[in-house]
């Protein structure tokens, strides 16, 4: 069996939720049923549950790792959990669901292929489910799975499930979401989590785990727009590789092949890909998210922060950018006129907030215009002016070349996450 495990893909999933909606129970079950919880972890959780006076084994303790979290009985940060089946390796970014932890949800969502949204079958779509769905769509998570949970408490009735599906579908019309799948489950009893439930014969779909193992993610990657942000220039300075000059980096989109004509930004000079190299040998092609070293046919002046693309398919180049920003600073607020450090692909520059266009109420999706500032966990639209040109795509087209972070210049903390809408 061990050998077959080598060629599994990785699926990164994000969950968000509070104590009551069964999220921890669901994760606990996925981990337990795939044998990813170890006996000593379970023992430790049992011990702590008893110490805390809990009558049942609190599976949330498996993920709530920090002392402060256990003391307060809440999840306050993003926790990463791992499990694997013979088909795939899964990385769960587990985040709290309350509005005061929006920044954690945004963080967990930023790398996810799939978002898991839990809805209590008794309560239907509530504010928190809408918020999670909105953040998933804002961060462009390609796949959404809505687990209608606690089906056991509504008698496993199809109508209850259909009601939730209809309600969610109606709400999701307002969002830009691609693929939505609904699954009726009971995390507590394991219905439709790993195996198909015997209690819901009316449900024709697959179990959650089966879906996670089979959902098609390879085509989520952008294989069209060739983008290679130069990360590091490799110059060995030894006799064997005397004139070697390799452009190291991670492919951020499209496919690069030896012989391809490429353009270097910002210089606009063109050359050809002489070779794509790795420690393990030369490659016939490279696509995201491979880390490779590209050698060009001509000796051009290229350094970190530059970008390789195709002459006939270039990113946008500019210093004026429109973006959605989630503010993450707890000591400062984002206001027009603020100056921050911006990190975009491998380029670092300074950015001036020219205008705060509106704040978005992430529960109602209403735009609040005329606001003075964004505070912690607020999401809004801004226009920025940068000190150097950035080479970018719309975030909806490419998450790697459409995203940036903002850094406070005095505290050096990461205070903002941005998704580019386009040039101003």
């Amino acid at each position: 069996m061990a050998m077959a495990l080598h060629n599994r893909e990785i699926l990164r999933l994000a969950t968000a939720g509070s104590v009551d909606d069964g999220k921890s129970t669901l994760i606990g079950r996925l981990l337990y049923d795939t044998k990813s919880i170890f006996e000593d972890q379970l023992e430790a959780v049992e011990r702590t549950s008893i110490q805390m006076g809990s009558q049942y084994v609190n599976l949330a303790l498996l993920t709530d790792g920090l002392r402060a979290e256990r003391e307060q009985g809440i999840t306050i940060d993003v926790a990463y959990r791992y499990f694997a089946t013979p088909r795939r390796k899964f990385i769960i970014a587990d985040t709290p669901g309350h509005i005061q932890y929006t920044r954690n949800m945004v963080t967990g969502a930023s790398t996810a292929d799939l978002a898991l949204i839990l809805i209590d079958a008794r309560n239907g779509v509530v504010e928190q489910s809408r918020r999670h769905a909105f953040i998933s769509s804002l961060l462009r998570i390609p796949h959404l799975v809505v687990c209608v949970n606690k089906m056991d408490l509504v008698g496993y009735e199809e109508e209850a499930y259909e009601l939730v599906c209809a309600e969610f579908t109606e709400f999701a019309r307002k969002l830009d979401v691609g693929d939505v799948t609904f699954i009726p489950i009971s995390a507590l009893h394991g219905d439709n989590v790993v195996d198909r439930s015997a209690s819901m014969a009316w449900y024709q779909g697959t179990s959650l785990l089966h879906h996670l193992e089979h959902v098609h993610i390879a085509s989520d990657r952008n294989l069209i727009d060739a983008r290679f942000p130069v990360q590091y220039v490799i110059r060995p300075y030894n006799d064997e590789h005397h004139d070697y000059r390799g452009l190291a980096g991670t492919v951020a989109g499209g496919i690069f092949k030896p012989g391809d004509e490429v353009m270097v930004l910002p210089s606009g000079l063109t050359s050809r890909v002489a070779a794509i190299e790795t420690f393990d040998g030369s490659l016939d092609e490279a696509c995201a998210p491979m880390s490779v070293t590209i050698r060009l046919a001509d000796d051009l002046d290229v350094s970190r922060g530059d970008m390789l693309c195709r002459p006939n398919n270039q990113p946008m180049v500019g210093q004026d950018i429109e973006a959605m920003v989630c503010w993450m600073g707890d000591r400062t607020r984002l206001t027009a006129g603020a100056k921050l450090t911006i990190k975009h692909t491998t380029r670092t520059a300074r950015a001036l907030v020219k205008e705060l266009r509106y704040r978005l109420d992430i529960n109602s999706l209403h735009r609040q215009e005329g606001v003075e500032s964004l505070g912690l966990n607020d999401i809004g639209r801004v226009s920025l002016r940068t000190t150097q040109p950035l080479f970018f795509d719309e975030y909806r087209r490419n998450r790697a070349t459409g995203s940036f972070i903002l850094i406070d210049e005095s505290s050096m903390a990461t205070v903002g996450a941005g998704m580019i809408i386009g040039p101003e």
Partner: protein, 311 residues
């Protein structure tokens, strides 16, 4: 927008889990080399740091690894591990910096624990922080994985340390996409964990796929051991078995490699990488739970030590 099965068709452009993890780790290491002035790679001789060193070799090939290898040496070593370290450093042509716990004890900067359960594990923090300060490292790579411990599960890839080397779990920088914030002031540093997303099984499968040599103690061998706290500790000059801890010879291997006084062996007949993978895939106890006396102290043992500046 309907329930139902989705079929997965294999794509020529999908990467295997190990190749994707490798690419992510290489990206992180290059980012550090590009943005920091003086990084160092913490190397214990354990399998995780061995894999990390291999990833560094790959990230900068055909150039040499552009930072030194740093070993915090407790003096309680397995000979096989030191021999392996020296051989690997020579192969790569990188500089080795050894921070000696013994030197800190001799100078009175660290106080040796006493009693039969004395360990130098905790003292390593003193030596680690002194070495980082003396060498003026602004970034230190560590081989920690998030699946090892609950506190580690929440730690960032770029983990900020203040001028005292402390980790503040409540005040971590948000970390999004593959955009890492390495901005610091003088005296502060970043601990960088490039293999955060690897699991124990991933490490072993990578060792297998890459045919990476490991110190022999990772494979089943006969060794004189004694049982303490349900763990087989090796009979070495660094620990004193008590009267009720008889020494016997057993077929064992180590799942982790650390200070010889507190790293336990597990009973195992796995003498090849394939057999170890089969064993890891079937095991029901975490590697730290099985083999680290120091981690059994409390639920928050790791969090507390990390706040002080531990690895």
């Amino acid at each position: 927008m309907s329930p139902g099965p989705t079929t997965a068709t294999p794509s020529p452009h999908s990467l295997s889990n190990l190749r994707e993890l490798e690419a992510e780790s290489i990206h992180i290491m290059r980012e550090v080399a590009a943005e920091f002035e003086c990084p160092g790679l913490l190397f214990s001789g354990g399998k995780d740091s061995i894999v990390m060193l291999r990833l560094a070799e790959k990230a900068f090939w055909p150039a040499k690894v552009p930072f030194p290898v740093v070993h915090v040496d407790t003096g309680h070593n397995f000979d096989e591990v030191i021999a392996y370290r020296d051989k690997r450093v020579a192969e790569l042509g990188v500089r080795l910096i050894v921070g000696s716990v013994q030197a800190d004890i001799d100078a009175g900067r660290a106080i040796e624990e006493t009693g039969p359960r004395a360990s130098r594990n905790r003292l390593q923090t003193v030596t680690l922080l002194r070495t980082i300060e003396e060498q003026r490292f602004d970034a230190a790579f560590g081989g920690a994985r998030r699946d090892e411990d609950k506190a580690r599960a929440k730690e960032r890839v770029f983990s900020f340390r203040d001028e005292f080397g402390q980790w503040d779990p409540k005040n971590q920088r948000p970390e999004l996409w593959a955009l890492f914030n390495g901005k610091i002031r003088r005296g502060e540093h970043i601990r960088v964990f490039p293999i955060s997303n690897w699991t124990e099984l991933d490490i072993w499968q990578y060792v297998d796929e890459e045919k990476i040599e490991l110190p022999s103690i990772y494979f089943a061998h006969r060794r004189r051991v004694f049982l303490r706290d349900n763990m087989w500790l090796a009979d070495t000059p660094f620990v004193t078995p008590q009267a009720n801890e008889p020494i016997i010879e057993k077929l064992v291997r180590f799942r982790t490699v650390g200070d010889a006084s507190c790293t336990g062996a597990v009973e195992s007949a796995a003498d090849t990488v394939e057999k170890v993978i089969a064993e890891v895939a079937a095991t029901r106890i975490t590697e730290r739970g099985a083999t680290r006396a120091d981690d059994k102290i409390s639920e928050a043992g790791m969090e507390d030590r990390k706040k002080e500046g531990y690895f």
